[in-house]
């Protein structure tokens, strides 16, 4: 028994290890390339230039707000998909993932068709309330939330479907309403899934480019997030683009690593 266990734990099969190492290298080598090419001597100077700070601050604020929007709307949506008795659930589930496969630029155009100044809904927002979303920071948040929400919904829904519904049923037999059972029983049990989904969602929102520049445009301090700044810097000054990318990289890896240690305490 112990020797069998040792054997399954001991030698790692080459058929798994070899592709795993290639996969790791495939993901990490471009990163190394970026770090090697980075002009480290001008990095601090670039980092503290006002435009970089502004773009970074805007990126962090917008990605965080978009994540809040996704949490508020996405967790209930995931619950509905996993537990609700809605007809055509399979179709709904597929539709929710549409922003994943849609090129983000197309997503941005679609948002313009709906929320733009002449959009299906946007024309009334403009006429009745004087609200115009394109070219505003709120537009950035919306574009990021649109692209990032499926990541959260899929993670949370997966966690919900893996969770044992009998705990909820037990809570119900003890007199808890479904809302109370969701809050006190379901949510705590799927917390790791929610946190993982939140992290993915935030990371996707932070790197969002296509939908943002299409729907919200690009104006420094208003809608120029880091990815937009990187793209434009690449036109004239590749070194600056690399610096911006490295900054974005360090910040996101730092935040994700901190979150992992704090929240996702898996077996290590």
């Amino acid at each position: 028994m112990t020797s069998a266990r040792r054997r399954t734990r001991g030698r790692l099969p080459v058929v798994l290890v070899l592709p795993a190492v290639v996969g790791l290298a495939f993901l990490l080598v471009p990163l190394v390339g970026l770090l090697v090419r980075a002009p480290w001597d001008t990095l601090p100077e670039q980092l503290f230039s006002s435009s970089v700070g502004e773009a970074l601050r805007l990126s962090l604020v917008c990605a965080s707000l978009a994540t809040v929007v996704c949490l508020v709307l996405g967790v209930p949506l995931a619950w509905l998909l996993a537990r609700g008795d809605v007809p055509g659930r399979g179709v709904l589930r597929a539709l929710v993932t549409v922003p994943l496969v849609l090129p983000p630029v197309v997503g941005g155009v679609a948002l313009l068709f709906v929320l733009g100044r002449r959009g299906l809904v946007g024309q009334y927002l403009d006429a009745w309330f004087g609200i115009s979303l394109p070219f505003t920071t709120a537009g950035v948040v919306l574009a990021e939330a649109f692209v990032a929400m499926p990541f959260l919904v899929i993670s949370v829904e997966g966690a919900l479907r893996a969770a044992d519904p009998r705990y909820e049923e037990a809570a119900a037999t003890l007199g808890a309403s479904r809302w109370l059972a969701f809050r006190r029983v379901t949510l705590p049990s799927i917390l790791p899934g929610v946190v993982a989904g939140t992290v993915l969602c935030w990371a996707r929102a932070l790197g969002e480019f296509g939908a943002t520049i299409t729907f919200a445009g690009n104006f420094p301090g208003e809608t120029t997030t880091m990815p937009l700044a990187v793209y434009l810097a690449l036109e004239t000054d590749p070194d600056a683009a690399i610096v911006l990318s490295v900054v974005l990289l360090l910040v996101s890896v730092g935040v994700l690593a901190a979150l992992r240690d704090r929240w996702i305490s898996g077996p290590s």
Partner: protein
């Protein structure tokens, strides 16, 4: 890939033997790979079809994109025979790296025009309206050529533009006008001509926004004869007519 090229060559050679002397450019065969600025997409696609019709057995392959991205691709060793850039600066990038064979020539010029949505709902008349805080304005970012040209126009007009967005390329600006999201924008005259959904307004300071389109055969061309023939075709009367129809000035 090499096998395919060989097959193409054999087929072309066979055709040449059948119809020897009947072709206009007998020396031209095989595949000609052209890297061209995105703003040349419509015109060069047409010119490529003409060229293929005039030279049976020749295939013209295009890679359209931003001039700076194309210049970087060529400098990184992308296989191309001809480079047509929307700005002399990008041609210079390739030339400095020893990438062009001979000298680049200017084959077209473009200039900016004001683009407004159909019916001009905001009543835009000239560059002065771009300083109006109430008007929604889209411009190219200064880092891209159309943005640099717009900056020169505003300097010449003495107008401080108040844009709502600085887009990453001119087609993105055009999209914002087509969708009616902005009241006015500055795009190239060829962009206005390319769609029936926007109206163009000319302005006197446009003379300051003219930019040259250079074209050159590349030093590492696999099909040097094809490259020269294609460039001659672009600069022929027929080529100039197609370019002029699209809104370019031809020198």
């Amino acid at each position: 890939m090499r096998a395919l090229a060989l097959v193409v060559l054999l087929v072309v050679a066979g055709c040449g033997a059948d119809s020897s002397g009947a072709e206009v450019g007998g020396a031209v065969d095989g595949r000609v790979t052209v890297f061209a600025a995105a703003s040349l997409t419509e015109t060069f696609t047409r010119l490529g079809e003409d060229f293929e019709a005039a030279h049976p057995g020749v295939e013209v392959v295009f890679n359209f994109g931003g001039s700076s991205a194309l210049a970087q691709q060529i400098n990184q060793g992308a296989p191309a025979d001809v480079f047509a850039s929307a700005a002399p600066a990008n041609m210079t990038q390739v030339g400095d790296a020893g990438g062009i064979s001979g000298a680049a020539v200017t084959f077209a010029r473009n200039r900016l025009e004001i683009a407004v949505p159909k019916g001009n709902p905001a009543g835009i008349t000239g560059l002065a309206d771009f300083g109006d805080a109430d008007a929604k304005i889209a411009l190219c970012a200064e880092q891209v050529p159309c943005g640099a040209a717009a900056k020169r126009a505003f300097e010449a007009a003495g107008v401080t533009a108040r844009p709502d967005t600085l887009e990453q390329d001119v087609k993105a600006v055009l999209t914002k006008v087509r969708l009616g999201e902005v009241d006015a924008a500055l795009v190239y005259r060829t962009d206005v001509r390319s769609t029936g959904e926007v109206e163009g307004i000319e302005f006197p300071e446009a003379d300051r926004t003219v930019n040259d389109y250079p074209i050159a055969p590349l030093a590492k061309a696999r099909n040097a004869a094809g490259a020269r023939a294609f460039i001659d075709h672009v600069r022929s009367d027929r080529g100039r007519a197609v370019l002029a129809e699209a809104g370019f000035d031809t020198p």
